[in-house]
């Protein structure tokens, strides 16, 4: 029996059972391909990251600009508000519309006792100058238009 011409599926004598033989070139190509894939993936990841960073930076700049604009608008509005609430302006409006405003009077201040609904005595709030004034002067001034 010519054992050199016989076709057989049986493994080579001496080879381990179950192990497939791959040519070394294919292995090399596979390994290189894997390396290339890893390098490409790393490269792609880096490019993608940079792109993402750029996008975020652009977005950040846009939002910063918007915030800056809003701040500018707020500053402008604050300046307008402060001009409007200046006493000059308020006084001119009072005169313009002839508003009969009354000056505040300390005698108007009353402190009520909590839950009991009674006007408290001044001595109960020692240390606080804003206590109830029961003097005749207080009655006289309340409701007085100045």
């Amino acid at each position: 029996m010519n054992q050199f011409t016989k076709k057989t599926n049986s493994p080579e004598p001496g080879a381990e059972p179950g192990r497939t033989q791959t040519p070394w070139v294919a292995g090399l190509i596979f390994k290189m391909a894997m390396m290339m894939v890893i390098i490409a993936a790393a490269f792609w990841a880096r490019v993608h990251l940079n792109d993402k960073t750029e996008q975020l930076a652009r977005e950040k700049n846009r939002i910063t600009r918007e915030i800056q604009e809003k701040r500018t608008e707020i500053q402008t509005l604050i300046a307008q508000r402060e001009t409007l609430r200046s006493w000059d302006n308020i006084n001119s409006k009072i005169k313009q519309y002839n508003l009969a405003l009354r000056s505040v009077n300390p005698s108007q201040v009353r402190y009520m006792k909590r839950f009991e609904g009674q006007v408290s005595a001044p001595s109960q709030y020692s240390g606080d100058t804003r206590v109830a004034d029961t003097s005749a002067g207080a009655d006289r001034t309340s409701g007085e238009v100045q």
Binding site: L49, E82, T83
Partner: protein
């Protein structure tokens, strides 16, 4: 053999050439990478790195409650790039000129204070000649031509859109801001103002100047590598130094009180038409300046209203002879050291007294009165006599202990320390004149501080106008500087001098106009002659200063009129009513309860009136008795003379007859 030899030679040559080549390359590499590394690396960096300088905003000024007094208003500067306009028009002169003219006309039409011809001239200047480091003249491209500055933000925003629509080349908008004073004239002389030099604020006066260092922003920068389109490359190294805004300043000023004081000061100016006027409201406990106003003033938003007169800060820079408002300091010292008591009698010489060869007058004749009456009636002679009794050294101690001749410590620059000669340079007259506010010059701030000391029981306190400075979480509070030891050794001194000063606003005092219903007002009038060209003139500083409520003062208020021209020129009548108006409104604002009911207050007033009447009756009776005695003496003399002539003796009339006749008269 020959063939091998020639090949060997060739190979040797090639080797030599290669070695030489590598050697050259190595040398070049050494030069590039090591020897000239810094130079070349710097050059390369310059081409792809950019440095941007960022500017913060100047600190703003607020009142105590956070109401804005000086702020920053965003504006925009519009600039052109002449060289770029030329290049973008494909270097076509005619086209460039047309575009420049269009730009100039557009901005003249839409912006304030823009002149079309001027803008056109600037935009048309594409290059300029300058000198390089060697002094050689070179032509440089012009990339900066100002079109408009300080354009309002809304206007600039609208213009930016239009410029985009019209596709003007080489026009850019840069953000900037300008100083804004939303309350216009309010507190203008104290706040001060700034000028602008290029990008820098230059403070001129007031708080803007004295706290400039704190308010100035710190510029930052950012260095980054840029891409071809000029945008920063985010994934490379970039360095940045942070920009810091200036500190915001919070003053001790209360805006509502400031408004009250300014309004009443305006009314006073209408009433007495003075050359100038000022008012100062101070908390005596901690020296906080609650309000400070002066007239004339100016509007910092409109520099046209500025004159040397209106822009001067009189409160801290002006030193004047104060007049009679100095008297309480001398008397309080004399009371404290036991030289006199409130009831000690001082002979005021009926209005004329000669001391050190010079006459001293009172405005009205006062005879022998108590020390309380000296203050109440503001007797120059009485005060001078007390001062002479104390001696020069004690007077010097008294005035210096109240802080005269020293700055008040307020955060305002410049601040005068007044004129108060050292003791060695006093003349014989000084002791009788300094005590009545002549020969000594003090600032309104010094006066207010000295009255704070009387009001708070003798504790020397530095004035404060800046309460705190803030930048984000960084808050720095300015400390209250108050001495722990009172200048009064006697604890009753404060009460004694306060009672005397209360008399000033009661019947018989020099300023009943300053009395406030429900409160005891301790005050003092002052009418000081102005020194003009080294001599006393017939112009006056009319002042009133006081504190309310007298027993537990909430504030010290000084009101001064410089040369009132209408009505009375006395401090009591010119400044007194304004003091009352400001004090009344301030008490209401502070919610200070009246000490007395209307009935009690009226009763006190009528009692004082009655006491005054009784005193006048007594004085009249005394004067009449004196007259009577004089008449009797005269008659006796006449009788004696007649008797001598006739040789007979006439008996003198009984005193009772004489008295009854006097009464009949």
């Amino acid at each position: 053999m020959t063939l091998f030899r020639s090949m060997a030679i060739r190979m040797a040559l090639v080797y030599i050439l290669l070695i030489c080549g590598f050697g050259y390359v190595a040398r070049v590499l050494y030069s590039v990478q090591i020897s000239r590394h810094d130079e070349l690396f710097g050059k390369a960096q310059n081409t792809y790195t950019t440095r941007i300088e960022t500017h913060g905003t100047r600190g703003e000024i607020f009142d105590f409650g956070g109401s804005l007094l000086v702020g920053n208003v965003p504006t925009m500067d519009i600039v052109g790039d002449p060289a770029n306009i030329y290049i973008l028009n494909k270097k076509d002169d005619e086209k460039t000129e047309t575009e420049c003219r269009m730009i100039a006309d557009f901005f003249e039409k839409n912006c304030e204070n823009v002149n079309s011809d001027e803008v056109f001239r600037r935009l048309s200047k594409r290059s300029f000649i300058s000198k390089d480091a060697n002094g050689k003249e070179i032509e440089r491209e012009c990339h900066y031509a100002v079109i408009a500055t300080g354009v309002k933000y809304e206007t600039a925003k609208m213009l930016k859109e239009k410029v985009k629509e019209l596709a003007f080349h080489g026009v850019s908008f840069t953000s900037s801001y300008r100083r804004n004073y939303p309350k216009n004239t309010m507190l203008a002389n104290i706040l001060g103002l700034t000028n602008v030099s290029y990008d820098t604020f230059v403070p001129i006066q007031g708080i803007e100047r004295s706290l400039n260092d704190a308010m100035t922003a710190t510029s930052g920068s950012m260095v980054y590598e840029r891409a071809r389109n000029g945008r920063p490359v985010t994934f490379t190294n970039s360095k940045s130094e942070p920009t810091l805004d200036g500190y915001n300043i919070f003053l001790t000023i209360r805006e509502p009180l400031q408004a009250i004081v300014e309004e009443e000061l305006d009314l006073m100016c209408e009433r007495v038409k003075p050359h100038a006027a000022w008012a100062l409201l101070v908390d005596p406990k901690n020296g906080d300046v609650l309000a400070a106003a002066q007239r004339p003033t100016f509007n910092p938003n409109d520099r046209g209203t500025m004159t040397p007169e209106s822009s001067a800060n009189r409160l801290s820079e002006l030193a004047i002879e104060p007049g009679s408002i100095m008297k309480p300091f001398v008397v309080s010292y004399a009371l404290d050291k036991g030289f006199v008591t409130p009831n000690s009698i001082v002979d005021c010489e009926q209005g004329v007294w000669k001391y050190a060869g010079r006459l001293l007058h009172d405005t009205h004749n006062v005879g022998k009165v108590s020390v309380s009456e000296v203050i109440k009636q503001s007797s120059n002679i009485g005060t001078a006599k007390i001062s002479v009794m104390m001696g020069a050294k004690n007077l010097d101690n008294a005035l210096r202990s109240f802080g005269f001749g020293q700055r008040t410590g307020i955060q305002l620059k410049p601040e005068t320390s007044g004129i108060f000669r050292p003791l060695e340079k006093w003349d014989s007259l000084s002791v009788s004149r300094f005590c009545i506010g002549q020969g000594i010059a003090v600032s309104p701030l010094q006066l207010a501080r000295a009255y704070c000391m009387i009001a708070n029981g003798g504790y020397k306190v530095n004035l404060r106008i800046v309460d705190r400075i803030e930048r984000g979480d960084d808050v720095r509070v300015m400390p209250v500087i108050r001495e722990s030891k009172s200048i009064f050794a006697n604890p009753t001194t404060k009460k004694m001098i306060t009672d005397m000063m209360i008399g000033v606003t009661e019947a018989g005092g020099t300023c009943t106009d300053a009395a406030i219903e429900g409160f005891h007002v301790a005050g003092k009038t002052g009418t000081a002659q102005k020194v003009i060209n080294g001599a006393y003139s017939n112009r006056y500083y009319a002042s009133f200063v006081g504190f309310v409520p007298a027993e537990d003062p909430k504030f010290v208020l000084l009101v001064t009129c410089d040369d009132p021209t209408v009505g009375s020129r006395y401090g009591g009548s010119a400044s007194g009513p304004t003091f009352k108006a400001i004090a009344e409104r301030t008490l209401k604002y502070m919610y200070v309860q009246p000490q007395l009911s209307r009935e009690e207050w009226l009763a006190e007033r009528s009692a004082a009136q009655k006491a005054l009447h009784e005193r006048k009756v007594r004085e009249d009776a005394l004067v009449q008795a004196r007259r009577e005695a004089r008449d009797r003496q005269l008659k006796e003399q006449q009788a004696k003379q007649t008797a001598k002539k006739s040789g007979t003796t006439v008996a003198s009339r009984p005193a009772s007859t004489s008295k009854s006749s006097t009464i009949r008269r």
